[in-house]
Amino acid sequence: MDRAELTTEQVLKRDIPWETYMTTKLITGTCLQLLRRYDNRSESYRAQLLDDDGPAYIRVFVSILRDITKEETVEYVLALIDEMLTANPKRARLFHDKSLANEDTYEPFLRLLWRGNWFIREKSCKILSHIISARPKAREGIISNGEASYSKSKLTTIDDVLKGLVEWLCAQLKAPSHPTSGVPTAISCLSTLLREPLVRSSFVQADGVKLLVPLISPASTQQSIQLLYETCLCVWLLSYYEPAVEYLGTTRTLPRLVEVVKGSTKEKVVRVIALTLKNLLTKGTFGAQMVDLGLPQIVQSLKAQAWSDEDLLDTLNQLEVGLKDNIKRLSSFDKYKQEVLLGHLDWSPMHKDPVFWRDNITNFEENDFQIICVLIMILDTSGD
């Protein structure tokens, strides 16, 4: 249904006829009671209610979302939950309370991601990522969601939830359901979810990394800066995950990052990109590429600007040192010798560095100018 932008406030102004639902047996008497106690009260009153018996209210909300399909009601309940979590994000933990162990708290939200208008989808996405982030961390890798004693078919396991959510997010990035807030919502959600190794692996497997790349471009408006920041945040989080790094190596992400960091004035964008570059410096051929793109000079000029964040300065310093080391390493004579002998000459940084040539001039004499001979041979035989 095409509406003008719905807001939470508007939705919450509605008056839902809960009594009729009870008469049609869609909700229980207790549900009705709790709803009447909660609905339309002040935030402080609700805080008290939730402190006393939070999980019970959660159960009410979840069961309504599961059993009732009327759009307005669904929107209303989603708005209630959204409001509840905005006021105090820690309440997301209530969804994992033991008393709800045999309720599938994920299922309704997962389902709502795919149907309904944008308001419903957006809110479901937000709420779902809150719930996921708030789940109790048991021992590494083993996450409890009532799996232990209950048949797995009854409840959606966390793996399925994450897969489903990642799938939706990737779909959003490819073809947003909403022209302006589709992509930002997805990116925002990803930037919190990608903290987890499970999400990272799902995302990379769903081939989502390449969907982030086009979003890395210099931004000017407030919203686009926020989007850029969150996209770079996602890339930074992914740079801690090996398979993602390998994948990034095949894309043109690095040049784009360098382009952005060169021109950006926003501290947080520069900060996050600097952290990403620091992570990538030691992996694969990123170091050499960075030198090629002229990053050392960019870092120099960035350092000259007056950032207020000392951590940023630290990171820039580390980058500088790392890049210098890289150049030194890449310029070692042995590497050059190896390249010549293999016949694979490449325009790596050392070839252009005058210091390298000066220092190593005597080394060419060894083995009766062997290197020179091989070079001549290459020049004779090579076509390009």
């Binding site: 903290r195 920041y229 945040l233 930074w236 989080l237 801690y240 947080k268 900060r271 996050v272 952290l275 964040d309 951590d311």
Partner: protein, 230 residues
């Protein structure tokens, strides 16, 4: 601007600052967590490596100990084998020695033997004047063959028959018996010497047994134990 606008703007600014702060806090938290993970992994790997090395070391030690143990056992059993072989050979010699005693009882054979022994010794000594010693119980036999022995020697070498003096003062010890089981004994035969006593030829049966034994030891061992190289 009225108060409402001012308050609004302040709210906005507060919200903005808050958001920036939260974002930074999030970044710090993520960095810390990742750093922790890396560090933890490194520590675990380092410890694993240490434990692995420790156990490799222990394994090596056990190997070495096994080798030492094996080599010790091997040596011990080699010695046992050698000892057993030695014992066997010695017992053979003893048995042979015992057999020797019987010879001196058969007077016919023994007489002939004595003569030949005397001749042999004379041949070795090649002296004109000889001193001969024998067992007290053999005196008679020796006297009886002395003359023919001298003649035989003289004929063989083409010299004058030597002068043999039989020592009646000092005799070779008697045959071994139960009474003096560990004392000096002689199973038979003679001892000849040049008159000045400087050259001696021991031709007692025991001495001859020793000689043959020593000479034939390699062959004896070969026949008993085969070509076993221990």
């Amino acid at each position: 601007m009225n108060d409402a606008d001012v308050s609004n703007q302040i709210q906005q600014m507060v919200k903005f600052i808050r958001q920036e702060a939260e974002e930074k806090a999030n970044e710090i938290s993520v960095s810390a967590e990742e750093e922790f993970n890396v560090e933890k992994l490194q520590l675990v790997e380092a410890e694993k490596k240490k434990i692995r090395q420790e156990y490799e070391r222990k394994e090596k030690q056990v190997e070495i100990r096994k080798k030492i143990e094996y080599s010790m056992q091997l040596n011990a059993s080699r010695i046992k084998v050698l000892q057993a072989q030695d014992d066997l050979v010695s017992s053979m010699k003893e048995a042979a020695g015992k057999e020797l005693l019987h010879i001196s009882h058969d007077h016919h054979v023994y007489k002939k033997l004595l003569k030949e022994l005397i001749v042999q010794s004379l041949l070795r000594l090649k002296e004109p004047a000889i001193l001969l010693r024998c067992r007290k119980e053999d005196l008679e036999l020796v006297e009886s063959v002395l003359h023919s022995a001298k003649q035989e020697y003289a004929a063989k070498v083409n010299v004058h028959p030597p002068d043999i003096l039989v020592d009646n003062q000092v005799h070779l010890p008697p045959a071994p018996s139960h009474h003096h089981a560990h004392g000096p004994f002689c199973s038979g035969g003679v001892v000849l010497a040049s008159r000045d006593g400087k050259i001696v030829c021991e031709n007692t049966l025991d001495a001859r047994l020793d000689v043959v034994f020593r000479k034939k030891l390699p062959e004896i061992r070969k026949r008993l134990f085969g070509e076993v190289t221990v």
